[in-house]
Each structure stands twice: as structure tokens, then as C-alpha cells.
Amino acid sequence: MNINSKYYLFLTGIIILFDIALITLFAPTEIIMGDVQKILYIHVPNAWVGFLFFFFVFIASVMYLITKDIRWDYFGQSAGEIGVVTTTIMVISGAIWAKPVWGVWWTWDPKLTTSLIMWLMYIGYLMLRAYSSNQRQGATYASVLGVISFINVPIVYMASVWWRTVHPEMIIGPLKESDAGLTVSMGFILIYSTFAFTVLGIFLLVRRFQIQQLEQLSR
């Protein structure tokens, strides 16, 4: 299965284009929020991919520490890089959505708080590897941090939920940003978008991984 073959690029491209078509042409306009609701088709899938790839970072970290096979580190780094981008898109798209709907760019609700903390942990994961004195040490250090960071995610989420339960007056807007009023077609497009972005993410992940392998061979 040669990822370099244009076939996969083409396939991924088609899947994404179809998604764009669905969102722009077929998605019904929401009554209350208007067109801006469609940003959720970007925001939610990227959120899902962001968390998924953080899980990949965790798996890569654990496996590297056990096997010491450097390829797990390539995998972790690739997942980390794509995850940062994905999480950034999620945060920005969330803010763009929030401003017209809630009136503020940001609020400290549990999901957003956890996402922001996760974003910081992603960055830390990449920075620690980058600033280490050699590749092996970078891989070991990053893996240690990767394990600790992932364990931290549910703890952060729980703490954020309690935090916001204690101070409900601080929340502007509903706790769930995906409204209850999802029609069947909206739901379908949301699921399809999630699928599309996951495919894109995995495609980029494999490509990035292969580029890393080539970079190492050329040294």
C-alpha cells in the first residue's frame, strides 16, 4: 500500500471536496444561528481528530518507551504536529462561531478549557523534543511527557467541569456547543465531515511519517 501513489491523494481529495460540497450546498441553514452554524462542520471534526491524535501521541510514547524503536517516535512526532494544527483550527473555528452566537470569542467551558490545555501540552511535547540535545534523548523525553500529558487530559476535563459547575455565572452560552436542534441531514453531514477530516488527518499522518523516515535515512 504505497501512500505515495497519487491514488490516495486523489481519494482523500475527493472525500474532502465532497464534504465541502455538502457543507456549502446541501446543509440546511439553521434557524437560530444562521450560516455561521456551518462552522461547526469544521470545528467538531477537528476537535475529534485533535483528541484522536493526542491518543496516538500517547500510544507512540508508550510503545517507544517499551520497544525503543525510533519509528514510534516518528509516529508520535507526526501525530503531534498534525494534532497541533487540528487543535488550532478547532480553537479558531470555535471562536469564530462563538462570537456571533454567544457574543464572546472565548469562554472557559470544560470542553474549550480542556482543548486549550491539550493544545499547550501538544506544543510542549513538540518543543521538548526539538530542544533536546540529540534525537534519542528527544524521543525519550517527549515520550515521557506524552504519557504524562495524556493522563492529564481526563483530569483536566473533570476539574474544568467542576470549576464551571461552581461558577455557572461565568458561562456564557450553553454548555454544549452543538445544539439539540440537529436535523437528520445536519447530523449526517456532521458525521461525514468527521469522517472526511479523519481521513485527511490519517493521510497527512502517514505522509509525514514517511517524510521523517526519509529525512533520517538521508542523514
Binding site: M121, Q137, I148, I155, V156, W162, V166
Partner: protein, 225 residues
């Protein structure tokens, strides 16, 4: 097994003995904490009625930055003086060494807290010497020490040393800070244990999880010293 905790104590006691002779680290961190209090007071200009809302945050942010300062200094000295290397050569497992260092940091931070808690009470005219706050402080300080030592051991080995530590440490201790701030605030507002007790339990669980995980991971950090 008996030796396990004994050895942790030996390592920590030696660090404490050395520091009590020089008093360099304790002096630096205490002065720094006092500086933070002053800076925050200038920066956050509120009336006395609002003190109760800002004190918890200011207190724990001060402790966080003081911890980072102390940690950076402590680990730098350890590395440059070769102390770490001499301890790595001992016939003890890495988690004993790890917990020894955690105990040392915990002890130093506790001393600083003992000095600045009364200061906070005086400056903000609010009594924070309270059993629940003391309890949460112990738990929070321990959690910060655990994460601080393992992360700090890695960052002190990189080119950027001091700068990287707070960036990596903050997201990890975010829940700890949150718990400490919430409990401190709740106690000051006169709330019941039933309301804030769960934060204390959360912190206890965080401490247990991370001390086990990080003890385990420390072996990997210390390879190729």
C-alpha cells in the same frame, strides 16, 4: 521495603542538610515570593471587599512561579555539581532517587509557604491559616513537586533550560492549581466541606496517580546521564 522509605529519607535529609547550611535556595525563593505578592498587589487594584475573590488566585500563582524558580535553581545546582550523578551510582532504584528529590522539593516549598501564608493573611487581611487550606496546600505542593521534578529533570538537560520549564509544567499542574484555588476561595467564603471536599479528593487522587506514573517514568529520563 523498610529500606525503601529510609533511603528516600536519607537522600532528602542530605539535601536539606546541605541547604540549611547555605540557605541560598530558601532565601532566593522566599524573597521572590514576597516580590510576587507586592507586584500582584500593585497590578490588581481592588478594594478590600474584593480581596476575597483575588487572594486565592494570587496566592497560588505566586506559589507556582516560586516553585518554578526554585526548581530551576535546585536542578541546575544538582546537575552542575555532579550530585545527581553520584546518586545515580548508588545501588538503589531510580524511583527511590525520584521520590527523594520530590521530598526535598516538597520540604523547601513547604518552608516557603509557612513563611508567606502569614504574609498573605496580613496583606489581604484575611485569615488563610485554616486546616482545610493547609490540607490542600500539602496535597498541591506534593503534586507540584512530583511533576516539577520529572519535567524539570528533562528541561534542565536541554539548551533552553529555565525557559521551557513553566511552559511544560503549567498545563500539567493546571488541575492542581484549580483545586487549590477553589478550596482556598471556598474556605474564605465560609463554605462547607460538603461543597469543596471533592477538590481535596481529586487532588489526593492526582497525587497518587502521578507519583506512581512519574516514579516509573523517571528511570527512562535518567538513562544516559
Amino acid at each position: 521495603m523498610k529500606n525503601y522509605f529510609l533511603y528516600i529519607w536519607y537522600i532528602s535529609a542530605k539535601d536539606i542538610q546541605v541547604e540549611l547550611k547555605k540557605k541560598e535556595l530558601l532565601t532566593l525563593t522566599t524573597i521572590f515570593a514576597i516580590t510576587c505578592v507586592v507586584i500582584f498587589n500593585i497590578a490588581i487594584d481592588v478594594s478590600a471587599q474584593a480581596y476575597i475573590r483575588v487572594l486565592p488566585g494570587i496566592l497560588w500563582v505566586t506559589i507556582f512561579f516560586t516553585a518554578v524558580l526554585g526548581l530551576n535553581r535546585f536542578l541546575s545546582v544538582e546537575r552542575d555539581s555532579g550530585n545527581f550523578e553520584s546518586l545515580l551510582l548508588l545501588p538503589i532504584s531510580r524511583d527511590i532517587l525520584f521520590l527523594g528529590k520530590v521530598t526535598t522539593l516538597f520540604f523547601f516549598m513547604t518552608i516557603v509557604e509557612i513563611l508567606i501564608f502569614p504574609l498573605f493573611s496580613v496583606v489581604f487581611n484575611l485569615n488563610i491559616i485554616n486546616i482545610s487550606i493547609i490540607l490542600i496546600s500539602i496535597l498541591a505542593t506534593f503534586g507540584i513537586s512530583v511533576l516539577g521534578i520529572i519535567i524539570g529533570s528533562m528541561t534542565s538537560n536541554t539548551d533552553v533550560r529555565e525557559t521551557l520549564l513553566p511552559i511544560l509544567l503549567f498545563p500539567l499542574i493546571f488541575p492542581i492549581l484549580l483545586a487549590a484555588i477553589e478550596v482556598t476561595g471556598a474556605v474564605l467564603r465560609g463554605e462547607e466541606w460538603a461543597v469543596y471536599g471533592k477538590w481535596v479528593q481529586l487532588l489526593a487522587i492526582i497525587d497518587i496517580i502521578f507519583s506512581i506514573v512519574c516514579s516509573f517514568l523517571f528511570t527512562h529520563v535518567m538513562k544516559d546521564y
